[in-house]
Amino acid sequence: MKKALALIVLSFLFTPMVKAQGFLSKSEVHGNFELDGMYYQADDALGITDSIINGNEFGFNGFADIIYTLGNFSAGLRYEAYLPPIAGFDRNLDGQGIANLWASYTTDRFSITIGDFYEQFGNGLTLRTYTEWSLGYDNALKGARFVFSPIDGIILKGVYGVQRYFWTKYENNNRGIVKGFDAEINLNDVFNGMSDSKIKLTLGGSAVSKYQSDQNPFYKMPKNVAAFAGRFNLGINKFNFSSEYAYKINDPSAINNYIYKPGAAFIFSGSYSTKGLGIYAQFKRVDNMSYKSDQAVTSNALDINFLPPLIEAHTYMLAAMYPYATQPNGEIGFQIAINYKVPKKSKIGGKYGMGVSINYSQMNNIDRSAPNDTAYIGQSGTMGWNSDFFKFGKQIFNRDLTIEIDKKFNKKFKSTFKYIYQKYDIATIQGHTGEPIVNANIAIIDMTYKLTSKKALRWELQGLWTKEDKGDWAAALIEYTVSPHWFITIADQYNYGNKHSNEKIHYYTGSFGYTLNTMRIALTYGRQREGVVCVGGVCRQVPASNGFSLTISGSF
C-alpha cells in the first residue's frame, strides 16, 4: 500500500505532462510538527532512584504531518518517532517511521481517499478514528474511504480498512477488518419547501461491521460483529435537540470479559440559547459498548467507536486531579450546564458584565442483575447481565458540580473564580483497588493584570480539600507574558495534607517559552505528580517524574 501511494505521489510530482510553472504555482505544501523531549533525573522524595531510571534518562516523542495539495488532489504523510516513548505512554509506541500515508481526490460531489484516514459517523458511537497526541493514541483506518454527495443535503460515506495498532503491520488477520457506511440527510437542503423553515432537521444512520477470524480456543467467537446507529438533530428557533442510539450485536471481548450480551449506547441532548443565556442538558447511557477491531486487546488501541464524555473537562492543575474515564462496559448519567452573562451596567454586572456558569454532571454504573439463575453478573461465556434501560445503578462513578464566575474589574484587571465539588470512584476509574470514594472540594482564583498593552501578569491560587486519597493540596502559579513572544511561569502544587509526612511533597515547576509566528518552544524543569491524563474520556497514566522537558511545535 505504502509503495503504491508513494508511486502515485511521485507520478504527480514528476510527470512531464504537467507544465512545470503552473504545477508549481498551484502546488501547496503544509504541515505541522511537535517534538517533546524529556530528561529524567533521580528524586528521592518521589522514590525515583538511579537504579529505577536504569540509564533510561531520555524520552522523546515527535511527529510531523506534511500535506501536499494540487487542486483537487492532496496527499500527506505523518512521521512519528518515540525513541523511547516518554514515561506514561504505551511502550508499544517504541520505534519510528512513517505512521500514516494517504492520498485523496476531492470535488464538490465526491471524495476518495486511499491510505490512512480519520472518519467519524455521527457522534462516533459506531465509528470514530482519530489521533490524540497527548495520549499517544491513533486508531486511523488504513484502506479506502469514499464520500459522495449526490445532491445538496445528502452525504453518503463508505469506509473499508484496518486500524493502526502502534507499529504492527496488518497480516494474517492479526486484527479485524472494518467496513462502514453512513448516510446523512439534511431535510432543509433536500426539500425546497423546508429551506426557509424555522425547523431544521438532519437525520443520519450508520452501519459498521468488523471481521476477525475466531482465534479464541475457549469461546465461540462471532467473526462478523456489526453495529448500527440512528441519529437526528432538530433545531426549533432557539432550541436544539439531538440524539443518537447505537446497537451492537454480540461482541465477546477481553474488555467485557467475554460476555455475549448485545451492546447499546444512547445519548440525548437538548439546548436553549438566547442572548446572554445558554442552557444545555444531556443524558447518556452506555451498556457493553466497547467495540474494538481486536477482541483480545484491552489497552487504549483499536477502538472502532467512541463514547463521547459528558463530564466537564477541567484544565486547572488541581481540578484535573480526578478526571473521569469513560466506562464502556456500562455507565448512565446526565449533565446540566447553564451559562449566564449578567448584563453590563447592571448592579452585579458592573461596567463590563459578569459571566456565570454552573455545570452539574453525574455518572453512575448501570443497574445490573444476573443473566440467569446459574450465572453471576458479568460471568464470561454467558449473556453477562440484564439491565433496565433507564435505571441508575447505585454505584456513583463520578459527580461534578462546577460553579464559575468570570469578572472583568477594569481595563487592566480580570479574574475567574471557580468552585468545584467532585465525588470520584478512584477504585473503579484509576484502578486503586480498595480505596474509598474521593470527595473533594476545589477552589480556584485566576487573576490577570495587564501591565501594558503587551505585558501581563497572571496568577492562580488553588486549593483541593479531601479526606481521601492523598489528602489536601494547595497550588499557586504565576505567569508573566510579553506578547506575542515570551512567557515565563513558576508553579507549585503542595500536598500538605498527606497523611504520610514523607509524602508532603512540593511539585514545583518552572517553565519559559518563546513563540515566533507559528513556532513555539517551551522548556520546563520540575516535578510531575503521578496521575491520570484524560482527553475525551480516554485516559493514560502519568508516572511521577523529575527533570527537564522541552517542547518544540509549529506549523507551516
Binding site: 537504579s51 445532491i151 452501519a207 482465534q215 475457549f218 469461546y219 462471532p222 450485536i249 483480545a296
Partner: protein
C-alpha cells in the same frame, strides 16, 4: 431521482445487516486437549509490586488445567515491579529476581512493556515476543494442536543429607531437523509466602496481600541463562537421545519438596521452544 438514492441507502444497510454473526448458547467451546504430547511453556513475567499480576498467575494455572496439564509454567520475577524494597516499602523485601530472569527480561523486553505479560513457547506474534495474558490461550492453542517435535525426560536424584540435586536430562527429537538447539534447565519453587500487590479481591487481600502464595517462582538455571547445545553439528537426528546430568547444591531457601526441575529445548535462531517438561525435584 431522490427515491433512487433512498433505495441505494436501504440496500447498503440491508447488506450491512448480513455482516453479523449472532452466536447461540452454549458460548463455551469444549476442546479436548488431552490427546497430544506437545507441552507449551508459559513464562509469566511478574513482580511483587504489580497489582494485576496475581490475576495473570491464576490465569496461567487455569490454562494448565484446561490444557490437560500440557503446560509448564515459570514465574519470572524481573523488572521494575520485582525490585526488592519496591517503592521503598520494606514489606516487599523479598528478592525473587534471578540472573537468568533478568537477562531474559532484557532480551525479550517483557517488563519494559508493562507487567503482567508473558512468553508462550517464546514465539513471536506481531513482531513481539511479549504476549499479554488475554492472548495467552489463543497463542498456545495452535501450538498444542501440533505433535511434539521432541521429548524431554527428566530423572532426579535428590540427596537430602547434603541438599544436592543430580538431574539427568534426555532430549529425543522426533525428526531430523537442521539448526542449533539448546536445552535450558532451571529450578522453580511453589508455596513461597510473601507479600504481593493485588487488586483482585477474589484472589486475596487488596491492595497488598501479605500472605500471598507465589508459585512456579524461577529460582535459577543449572546451565546458564541460555542453556547448552544438545548437538554441535548444526543438526539433530531423529530418535537420537541427547543426554546430560547436572548437579547443584540447593541454597537453604530452596525447599526441595516445593521445587521442580523445568527443562525446555529451543531453536537458537528464533528462540522458539519445541518442548518443555517439568518434574518435582523429589520424584
Amino acid at each position: 431521482m431522490k427515491i433512487r438514492y433512498i433505495i441505494l441507502v436501504v440496500l447498503i444497510f440491508a447488506v450491512s445487516f448480513n455482516s453479523c454473526d449472532k452466536v447461540d448458547a452454549p458460548f463455551i467451546e469444549s476442546r479436548d486437549y488431552c490427546n497430544g504430547n506437545k507441552k507449551v511453556l508459559i513464562e509469566d513475567y511478574t513482580g511483587h509490586g504489580c497489582v494485576n499480576c496475581p490475576g495473570a498467575a491464576v490465569l496461567a494455572q487455569e490454562l494448565k488445567e484446561i490444557f490437560c496439564g500440557r503446560a509448564v509454567i515459570i514465574a519470572v520475577h524481573a523488572g521494575y515491579f520485582a525490585q526488592p524494597d519496591f517503592e521503598n516499602n520494606p514489606v516487599f523485601a523479598a528478592n525473587f529476581t534471578t540472573e537468568a530472569g533478568n537477562e531474559w527480561d532484557t532480551y525479550f523486553g517483557n517488563s519494559a512493556k508493562g507487567n503482567p505479560n508473558g512468553l508462550i513457547d517464546r514465539v513471536r506474534v506481531n513482531d513481539s515476543y511479549v504476549i499479554y495474558p488475554q492472548s495467552w490461550a489463543e497463542v498456545a492453542d495452535p501450538l498444542l494442536m501440533e505433535p511434539a517435535e521432541a521429548f524431554i525426560t527428566i530423572n532426579n536424584d535428590f540427596n537430602v543429607s547434603n541438599n544436592t540435586l543430580s538431574t539427568n536430562i534426555k532430549t529425543e527429537f522426533q525428526q531430523d531437523i537442521e539448526g542449533s538447539f539448546k536445552v535450558i534447565v532451571c529450578i522453580t519453587q511453589d508455596n513461597i509466602i510473601a507479600p504481593q500487590k493485588n487488586n483482585d479481591p477474589e484472589i486475596g487481600a487488596t491492595p497488598i496481600d501479605s500472605t500471598y502464595v507465589h508459585n512456579h517462582v524461577l529460582r535459577g538455571t543449572l546451565n546458564g541463562s541460555w542453556g547448552e547445545y544438545v548437538s554441535t553439528t548444526g543438526a539433530v537426528a531423529m530418535n537420537e537421545v541427547y543426554e546430560k546430568t547436572y548437579d547443584i547444591e540447593f541454597p537453604t531457601s530452596w525447599i526441595a519438596e516445593d521445587c521442580h526441575v523445568v527443562a525446555f529445548v529451543y531453536n537458537e535462531s528464533n528462540k522458539q521452544v519445541l518442548q518443555a517438561e517439568e518434574i518435582s525435584v523429589l520424584d
